[in-house]
Amino acid sequence: MRNILFTLLLAAGLAQAAPDAQQLLAASDAIRNPGQSFSLDNTLIEYRNGREQGQTQLQIYARPASDSGQYRNLIRFLAPLRDAGKLMLKNGNELWFYDPASKASVRISPQQRLLGQAANGDVMTVNLARDYRARLDGEEAIQDGERQTRACYRLALQASHDDVTYPRITLWVDAANSRPIKGQFYSDSGRLLKTAFYRRYQLQLGVQRPSETVIIDGLDPSWITVMRIGNLVARDIPETWLQRDYLPRFRAE
């Protein structure tokens, strides 16, 4: 009996010492994203060299794809006013941009999407565990987004296919509760493209989730984006909304 107890304790200890990286990643995803269709308001405040450059206000409608489990997004621009009413549809790497003035639905490349602020919205609505293989890269105490020292697992994520924006990611998750704390997003060549701090956790849809992400551009570190999430609500997003032909018809109700 004593031997069995010892074995169990050892197993538990080992399990604690080496948690499953993929499960940690999935748990972290579940904190950032509800597992169902939802909509949220997203405000992006952009700084260059410490000066505010402008604000982008988006409404994001997200629905998990039945095949990949990845979110398909319909993004509606509210501000700046020159972009009001424009829409972007993201279905994996299939991207369309719709302008109500010209009625044109223009196909854009993933690279072109990355140029806009809307790309930052995807830092939130991506199920990383679906597209990346996670490896536990170590334990580390880092300063979190609230400047508190926090014991974290450092996860090294490698994309499992080519259809992702960032081929490699380093993600720090809270060792106590799997909350995402910090992420670094890299290009194929190993270039740092973005650093993100997930912070200001609030109760949203029954779970403590980050309500703010601070994003530092890797290529131009003086370019900072503060992304605030609000009004996160579960809602039905019909499949028909998430296609090019629906863009001229979309109107938030």
Binding site: N49, R82, A101, A104, R107, P221, I224, T240
Partner: protein
């Protein structure tokens, strides 16, 4: 006191900017001070523009777009533009009722629209063979930018029904005859420009394998030959899109002569975006309704004028082949600055049209300058247009 505290929170990280970047924790301090300024979700938006071409007087326009949900399933859309152009020889104001329609959507999959609608077909940037409604009428001169003509034209009064599926749709558009001729009166809705004849269109969108997406079209009308068409787009890698569209119909050439035979319109294009925020499009345009090169070169006098007018009326180039290059560079040299450039090269008569622009754009205001010039022999497609400049300011509301 809170204001002073906020100020300090901003000033402290500014001290770390000597090298142009902030340490991560300074960034968080900056973020602490960030204040969201929510924009109300208004159904009403518009634009005011004031501009002046070199050698002309100031002119401008005010546009308004109302897109309102009346009640669940019912939506009303109104788009109007009022141009002010104080030149001699024309009315000082011209109003364009671009869209005014009611939309009923009993379910997410079905929709019925009735009224003046500006439908848009095709996937290319500079020319859309699938856009069979492109000749619906411009009441004011558009700029060289192809988007300008699309944005400013009149819609067509029609009934439009659409059935959507998970990855595509089918639709039918029916447009009646409302008037026999255009009405240039400044405040006329000008039904004659948009609805001179009965027309119809069947359309379908189908998702192909991989990233291939296709649109199919069959159009016709009173006294018009059937016009089938197809458009396709494909993603190549992370930064490149490839697209093409074509339509054809049995008709005479634009001069009203030649044999009545199948004459195609086509575009092949490629879009590329660099990491520097520069997006390039290159397109080859084909117009099988235009005169052959020798006939175009031989046109003179009144026949030349009639031919150019006929091509303009149906929004087609007067020659058979063109190259179209377009560049758009966001944050050019500094954030908020946008540089654009466009080249149209007529492959038949070797004439060229250049335009370039630079604009600064803020949240509500844009200020910019455009320049354009045509090069070519007199009587060629783009020949005879001297260099000219335009200053403009746009205000968005």
């Amino acid at each position: 006191m809170p204001c002073y505290a906020s100020l300090l929170l901003v000033i402290v990280p500014l001290a770390a900017l000597a090298d142009g970047s902030l340490a991560e924790l300074d960034v968080l301090t900056l973020a602490d001070a960030a204040v969201s300024q929510p924009q109300a979700d208004s159904p009403l938006h518009g634009q005011l523009q004031l501009s002046r071409w070199q050698g002309s007087q100031w002119q401008g326009f005010a546009s308004v777009r109302l897109d309102s949900v009346l009640q669940p399933g019912w939506r009303a859309v109104l788009a109007d533009r009022l141009d002010f152009r104080p030149q001699a020889g024309g009315p000082a104001q011209v109003n364009s009722l671009q869209e005014a329609y009611l939309s009923w959507q009993p379910s997410p999959e079905q929709a019925l629209d009735v009224g003046r609608i500006n439908p848009r077909g095709g996937v290319a940037l500079g020319f859309n063979p699938l856009d069979v409604w492109r000749d619906s009428g411009l009441r004011t001169a558009a700029s060289a930018d192809p988007a300008s003509a699309r944005d400013n034209r009149l819609g067509v009064v029609m009934l439009r029904a659409q059935q959507l599926y998970d990855s595509g749709s089918v639709g039918v558009l029916l447009a009646p005859t409302l008037a026999s001729a255009a009405n240039p009166a400044p405040w006329s809705p000008d039904w004659g420009s948009s609805n001179r004849r009965e027309r119809w269109q069947l359309q379908a969108s189908v998702a192909g394998s991989g990233s291939l997406r296709t649109q199919w079209l069959l159009a016709g009308g009173a006294g018009e030959a059937l016009q089938p068409g197809v458009a396709a787009s494909l993603l190549l890698g992370d930064a490149t899109t490839v697209y093409g569209e074509a339509s054809t119909s049995r008709r005479h050439d634009l001069a009203g002569g030649g044999a009545r035979r199948w004459r195609a319109l086509g575009v092949l294009g490629l879009g590329y975006t660099a990491a520097t925020r520069l997006t390039l499009h290159a397109e080859w345009h084909y117009n099988g309704q235009a005169l052959a090169a020798a006939d175009w070169a031989a046109l003179q006098g009144a026949a030349y004028g009639r031919y150019r007018q006929a091509a303009q009326q149906v929004a087609l180039a007067p020659t058979r082949q063109q190259w179209f290059l377009h560049a758009d560079w966001q944050d050019f040299l500094r954030p908020g600055l946008v540089a654009t450039a466009m080249l149209r090269h007529d492959r038949i008569d070797d004439s060229r049209f250049f335009s370039a622009g630079l604009r600064w754009q803020g949240d509500r205001l844009a200020l910019g300058v455009n320049a354009e010039r045509g090069l070519g022999r007199p009587g060629s497609h783009y020949g005879g247009q001297a260099l000219r400049w335009q200053l403009f300011s746009n205000f968005y509301y």
